[in-house]
């Protein structure tokens, strides 16, 4: 564990340096402990793969006090408290018409399209971080056989619901946006809906499984092509 100053009112807590479920669980547990320890002095928390950005109110407290409280809250941290996370199932229509890079990715991997689908949907992913855009959940780790680098030229427009791979991460685009990830399918579940409660089907620490569905099921669930 390492605590360093990030800005005039922010400390960064590093809880490891690799992407792993164990480090992620520590981040989760630390976020809960820090939130309880800082109370109203806390302005915002940004958990990520192996770190926790702690933003505090510099007019009500200072880095000495925040540092002391964070160290004592995280010192005897029991990662067991963070729990296993909920299991969330997300349906995906895997098909070249819904994932423009599916065939190219399969070819690059020396696999059939069916094999790529089988491998992608066989893994249980963990939500490591949420960011980039509202509701954009970074899921890992993708099986090395189907890991693929980002596109050399990002697309100007990736459709909402696009299921994509970049290196060993996978994600569902929550809204239309530019993007450089490899598109392999489409998910009809809304990943971010400001009007819904909760606004997102997943949270950091949750476990996600993708379930292959066919075209008609995809359309019946509200998916758009």
């Amino acid at each position: 564990m390492r605590l360093s100053q990030a800005g005039e009112a922010a400390l960064m807590l590093y809880l490891g340096d690799e992407t792993s479920p164990a480090v992620s669980a520590r981040v989760q547990a630390a976020a809960q402990a820090v939130e309880a320890a800082l109370g109203d002095d806390l302005v915002d928390l940004v958990p990520s793969y192996a770190s926790l950005l702690i933003i505090y109110n510099p007019l009500t407290t200072d880095h000495f006090s925040v540092g002391r409280r964070v160290r004592s809250a995280v010192g005897g941290l029991d990662t067991g408290n963070a729990g296993e996370g909920r299991e969330v199932r997300l349906p995906v229509y895997y098909h070249p018409e819904a994932g423009e890079d599916l065939e190219a990715l399969a070819q690059r991997a020396g696999l059939g399209v069916d094999e790529v689908i089988a491998i992608h949907s066989a893994t249980e992913y963990r939500v490591y971080a949420i960011g980039f855009a509202p509701g954009f959940a970074y899921l890992g780790q993708v099986d090395e056989r189907i890991a693929a680098p980002r596109l050399a030229t990002p697309r100007q427009r990736v459709p909402r619901g696009a299921v994509a791979i970049a290196d060993r991460q996978t994600a569902v685009y929550p809204a239309v946006s530019p993007g450089g990830w490899n598109l392999i399918g489409r998910c009809p579940t809304r990943m971010f809906d400001p009007a819904a409660e909760p606004t997102m089907p997943v949270a950091v620490g949750d476990r996600v499984r993708f379930e292959p569905i066919d075209r008609s099921r995809f359309l019946a669930l509200g998916g758009e092509l």
């Binding site: 800005g7 005039e8 915002d44 928390l45």
Partner: protein, 312 residues
């Protein structure tokens, strides 16, 4: 709303506590001018106002109320007649209020705040009315203001007319020194690279917006190309592969994987955002304790600046 101008956005104090679902903070780029606008009007410190970037805003009042314009020296006209900024004015239903474009060549800032007595009443989204266009969140429809929009506000009769004495108004020049709290991946920048960073003069590039101000000048090299994505605080100075610093602002992405050399002091960033492309920027390292003290002094000043009251 007759004409919205180049970019006019409803902003309150900003959206906090939502970064874990990926929502950025938004909020006024120049919180000092924003806060003084509300203080002059006797509003809550975070009441919703319009942030006018570069000017071109024309509104017609539909109620009798009081208004105030602070920030950049964008000329304020009421029914065509130029009126003082940093000063509360009464307007009546039917009056035309314009925040004009800046006259060329003046180093006079580019963000002004138009406030109204009681603030504009906009339903908060995720706890705030601040507009973040990239996220389609806040404001009236998650967008910048459009012709024909109605900005709801209550009628207000009477109330004090206050102004900020001229000597106390901020001066927006054509350069800024950003005090920097070293941090984040600072250790991955060699002593030589750090010296280059703190001794070079940078220019504000054309690529400057509410997400970040990209600067041009001496390229800074980092030992590492990227890091495991982590949270990014306000003012963080990111150094991408081309070595040109980017100061990250209110609408920044919440997490990212570029190395950062430190974070700029918010008080100085409020001056940076008033600059336009071509203006110059330098960096100066300060301790976190000095930064902390500066924040307290500035907050105290904002609360206690003596405002003059006048009546017509």
């Amino acid at each position: 709303m007759v004409q919205p101008g180049l970019m006019s956005l409803l902003q309150d104090g900003g959206r906090y506590g939502q970064q874990r679902i990926g929502l950025t903070t938004g909020g006024p780029l120049d919180p000092e001018a924003f806060a003084l606008c509300n203080r002059l009007l006797g509003n809550d410190a975070t009441a919703t106002a319009v942030e006018v970037s570069f000017g071109g805003l024309v509104l017609t009042a539909t109620v009798d109320t009081r208004i105030c314009v602070t920030g950049a020296a964008l000329p304020l006209r009421i029914n065509g007649k130029e009126q003082a900024r940093w000063c509360v004015h009464r307007v009546g239903a039917g009056d035309e209020i314009a925040v004009d474009f800046l006259t060329a060549g003046t180093a006079a800032g580019c963000r002004a705040y138009l406030g109204v007595a009681g603030g504009f009443s906009v339903a908060p989204q995720f706890g705030s009315s601040s507009t973040v266009v990239r996220e389609h969140i806040g404001g009236l429809k998650g967008e910048k203001l459009q012709p024909g929009d109605t900005l709801p506000c209550a009628a207000s009769s009477g109330g004090p007319l206050r102004r900020l004495p001229e000597a106390l108004r901020p001066v927006y020049g054509n350069s800024v020194v950003l005090r920097v709290i070293p941090g984040y991946q600072q250790a991955h920048f060699s002593p030589l690279q750090q010296r280059r960073f703190y001794s070079s003069e940078y220019t504000v590039s054309e690529r400057c917006d509410r997400m970040g101000y990209r600067l041009e000048g001496t390229a800074i090299a980092c030992d590492i190309e990227g890091i495991l994505s982590e949270g990014i605080c306000f003012g963080a100075i990111q150094i991408p592969a081309d070595g040109q610093p980017i100061v990250l602002l209110n609408d920044r992405q919440t997490i990212g994987g570029y190395p950062k050399i430190g974070a700029a002091l918010s008080l100085d960033v409020a001056r940076l955002v008033q600059l336009t492309p071509g203006a110059t920027v330098r960096f100066e390292a300060v301790s976190r304790d000095a930064a902390h003290n500066a924040l307290h002094l500035a907050a105290h000043r904002l609360r206690t600046l003596p405002l003059a009251e006048f009546s017509l």
